[in-house]
């Protein structure tokens, strides 16, 4: 069985989501499978409609506008496109957090089709316990 990496995407800021997608790429490059649990503000970014406008973490401060502009100019792919591309190379599974989805009345159908399933924390922790590495972003 392939080694696994478990990621918890919590923050919905673009920089942290990108960090997650880049780490997932590194894992896939190393022949590892990736299970991603998406919750809270990150889950909002997976809604089909009414997605909050992506921003950078508050620590970007005054640089925020400039960095966003540079990323646009240099055509940096979105975190979600990076994940989509990974599916051609390896195994990446995205799971929506049932707790936060329930709180907002979101169903699997309300989320991007890349979401494999909406699952509870216990099921995810069960996946994570067999992983070589678990990160919370």
């Amino acid at each position: 069985m392939a080694d696994k990496v478990a990621l918890i995407l919590f923050s919905g800021t673009m920089d942290k989501l990108m960090a997650g997608s880049i780490i997932a790429s590194g894992a896939v490059a190393n022949g590892m499978e990736v299970d991603i649990f998406v919750t809270f503000w990150a889950l909002l970014q997976l809604k089909k409609t009414g997605v909050p406008k992506p921003t950078l973490s508050p620590e970007a401060g005054d640089m925020s506008k400039q960095i966003m502009k540079i990323m646009q100019e240099k055509k940096v792919p979105s975190w979600l496109d990076t994940i989509r591309n990974l599916k051609d190379i390896g195994t990446v599974n995205l799971y929506g957090c049932a707790m936060f989805a329930d709180l907002l009345g979101l169903k699997k159908e309300d989320l991007d089709p890349i979401v494999k399933e909406v699952i509870g924390v216990s099921q995810f922790v069960d996946m994570a316990k067999d992983s070589k590495m678990t990160l919370f972003l």
């Binding site: 880049i22 790429s25 590194g26 896939v28 490059a29 022949g31 240099k74 055509k75 940096v76 792919p77 591309n85 990974l86 051609d88 190379i89």
Partner: protein, 79 residues
């Protein structure tokens, strides 16, 4: 030495880490044993990551070449 002609050339110039590496791996997965894959990149992370990946995955690193304003990494799929 006779120059080795690549089976496939990937121009990933302007793409950032880990983009070029992932493009290379994709081409590797789609290719067949014996294929020579060449990748152009301007990303410094790739210059280190890609040769490392080629060696670790048990394939052949033919070379890393400095070109004008970019570099080229050439590998042969051996497995």
């Amino acid at each position: 030495m006779e120059e080795i002609k690549p089976t496939r050339v990937i121009d990933a110039r302007g793409s950032f880490c880990p983009g070029p590496l992932m493009e290379m791996i994709k081409a590797y997965k789609q290719g067949k044993v014996g294929d020579v894959i060449s990748i152009y990149s301007t990303d410094t992370g790739t210059k280190k990551d890609a040769p490392e990946w080629i060696k670790k995955s048990g394939n052949e690193l033919i070379g890393v070449y400095d070109r004008k304003g970019y570099f080229e990494i050439v590998m042969r799929k051996t497995k």
